[in-house]
């Protein structure tokens, strides 16, 4: 599994091979990222400059954060379609509290993250307690509700002029490094530990792998799912906070389509749509691949329309490679 790197027991020949394959599984997306970067370095002299790398790091931050929440839902064989809308409602409410009502930025941030947590929690509760057949439905509902509310409370107009502390996460730099990217690294580190070294983290993998076996092992699936969707909501709001810092504006149509970027990042990063398989670092690489691709195509002056086409192809290609890998693994099994 993905836990640490335990040594195979002595005198066991099988251990090495299994281990090697697991490493390859982890590194597959990384090779993809390196290959892509190699090609772009060759095509554009500007690509491999410090400025540009930091630019990519900054651009990937929001998607990286949201994708991490998405990863949890996908690990449980679920999905969260509402992240983009949750992001929008979180930040416009923060805007109202801070800009319109003039409250302290701290309260604004609490409101922003709190709204994310609340909506995520609602996603989890409606999914489990109303026994909705699939999270696609509960989060599709929330997606519409939250987007509608964001439009209503702002009367469809953006809110600008946020105070300094709120902009810190999205706009500040530590030397050449954007704070938002440092945040991503820290959060990813925390999630790595959470998923691999805590009971709830392991249960998330178990639920996605085999819900019935998990239930019969005495684990409350409902609780795990509620935690997962709550975290996903929180991550969407955190992404929103970074977005506000970057553009100094909270607008009700923010985050439109972000759910698909997040899903794409997790899938490119090797997570299985069937649940139970996927890692945080894979997801990070998936988000980086998407950012590098967009950045590279920009440098090569490819139109944004063509970029969208390219991203679509990359998604299918990445999953196809994953399918091939699984086929190879199945052959080994038999």
């Amino acid at each position: 599994m993905k836990v640490s790197s335990p040594q195979p027991l002595p005198g066991d020949s099988n251990g090495h091979k299994v281990h090697f394959r697991q490493i390859m599984q982890k590194l597959g997306p990384l090779f993809g990222l390196l290959a892509l970067s190699g090609v772009l370095t060759y095509l554009s002299p500007y690509f491999l400059t410090m400025d540009n790398i930091m630019n990519v790091a900054r651009q990937s931050a929001i998607n990286s954060l949201i994708a991490l929440g998405m990863l949890l839902t996908i690990l449980t064989a679920g999905i969260d379609l509402s992240v983009g809308s949750i992001l929008a409602l979180s930040i416009v409410l923060m805007g109202i509290v801070v800009v319109k009502l003039g409250m302290s930025p701290i309260i604004g941030i609490i409101v922003c993250l709190g709204v994310g947590v609340l909506l995520g929690f609602i996603n989890g509760v409606t999914l489990t307690k109303l026994s909705l057949p699939h999270p696609f439905i509960s989060t599709l509902g929330t997606m519409n509700v939250a987007r509608g509310l964001a439009l209503i409370v702002t009367a469809a107009s953006p809110i600008s002029n946020f105070p300094e502390p709120i902009q810190f996460l999205g706009a500040a730099f530590l030397g050449p490094v954007p704070v938002s990217f440092l945040l991503v690294l820290v959060v990813y580190g925390i999630f790595h530990i959470f998923l691999n070294y805590t009971t709830v983290g392991r249960y998330i993998y178990a639920v996605g792998g085999n819900p019935e076996a998990t239930r019969l092992s005495g684990i409350s699936i409902d609780k795990v799912l509620i935690i997962v969707y709550t975290i996903s909501g929180f991550m969407a709001a955190l992404g929103g906070l970074v977005l506000v810092g970057r553009v100094n504006s909270a607008y009700p149509l923010a985050g439109l389509g972000y759910e698909f970027d997040a899903i794409a990042a997790t899938i490119i990063g090797g997570a299985s749509f069937m649940g139970g398989e996927g890692t945080v670092w894979g997801t990070l690489i998936g988000a980086m691949i998407m950012a590098v691709l967009r950045n590279g195509l920009n440098l090569l002056s490819v139109s944004s329309e063509m970029q969208t086409v390219a991203i679509g192809i990359v998604i299918i290609l990445a999953v196809y490679i994953d399918v091939l890998r699984h086929k190879a693994a199945a052959k080994v099994k038999a």
Binding site: M1, D12, A206, S217, G218, S220, A334
Partner: protein, 510 residues
Amino acid sequence: MEEDLLSLKGVSKRFPGVLALNNINLDIKPGEIHGLVGENGAGKSTLIKILTGAYSCDEGQMVCQGKHVHFVSTKDAFLMGIAAIYQELSLAPNLSVTENIFLGREMRYKGIGLLNYPQMTRLAREALTELGADIDMGKPVREYSMGQQQVIEIARALIANAKLIIMDEPTSSLSGREVRILLDNIYKLRQKGIAIVYISHRLEEVLEISDRITVMRDGCKIATMDKKETDQEQLIELMVGRTLEEKFPQVTVERGGLALQVTGLNRTGVLKDISFELYQGEVLGIAGLVGAGRTELARAIFGADKIDSGSVAVFGREVKINSPRDAINEGIAFLTEDRKGQGLILMHDIKFNSTLAGLKRFCKFGSFINTKSLCKEVEQLLHDLQVRPANYNIVTRLLSGGNQQKIVIAKWLCLKAKIFIFDEPTRGIDVGAKVEVYNVINRLISEGAAVIVISSELPEVMGISNRIMVMHDGRITAEFNRSEAAPEKILKAATGGINHESKFTPTIAG
């Protein structure tokens, strides 16, 4: 000499690290029933997959109806008249009987290309009538029992003009009467000149039906014999490569205190007024026909299903069990019949699976897992249970049935469970590994655990239990001590005293 329908010469198949098939020579004659037996992992499945084109062989030749063939897909094999019917049936449950029978080979009206339902229905009905089945062609397949669905699959093979039908464990989920019907149909197929390769763990069945029997072990063909030349003892010996001295190892354990007391348990339509006791240091066997309510009883005690009335006391203390978690907190473990579906998370490794239920034990600082102590414990468990290879990083999907069962047991040992409920603990496990599972059960009771074993294999129930309880139609109909138990008595109680069909097709009493 009669020409072989299919012959294999020196067929080998290699997977990374394993030689799955080693130089197999095999010939199948037209219209013969050819039994194929071997322990799990002997290479039977790989061989079938080669025959049906799911795999292609690395070395060797295949000659089918006089032609050299090299199948690269199941379609190739199918076109040569080779069809397979698997343990898990492969029909589309939502489509009608006719649609299933003609799936992929639909007949169309000439010219317009629309489906010719009247003709398909007529042909399908003819095939089914020939097989003695009374089936409404328009109904969706899911409305039929496993046995009927199997007949539909056979009809499908007939319509496709199959010359060889491979049946993989065809009786594993059939009732006694359905087994009879299947065997009759197999004889009918033989009369039509169709050859059958019949794979089953139930040796008596294989011995009854086959003309010739091939035994496989460790990827090699050990022998092909005429039915008349062999018997069950010899088959087992060839399969395991040694004689099984002790099919049911015994230990003498003093019966201890009351572990579990169930009083007046009811679940509408399923369980009726069930009361019994279970003591430490004993194995209580529960016998009965499929559908008698044995699994349902286990699930009710374990909190997986709700009960309507009744009480459960654990170690003398009455407890409320509303969920598996409650049961686990009381030290009750439930090892389901369906290991892959309900016991293991197949995509994950041994370490993950064996500690899933007991994960909280390895936590420090709240809910952080101490990986080091966890690994150490898993190592110990693998050693105690003799899991091979003893590498906890192996994904459980790759393990044999016996080892998978051991991992499920490890999961509950890790939780320090005191009461173990095993549902069909050796189903699908090969003969040698069964004994190891029995040894583990013996170890459990030696260490003071209380064990319930639900089993449809009569020799197994009788061989390992201290006491035997028989269920019929949701009730307990009899209880025997080991010394008083006899197959006829158990069967009588299992059929509610009336002597009709029995599900106890004798199996390998491993």
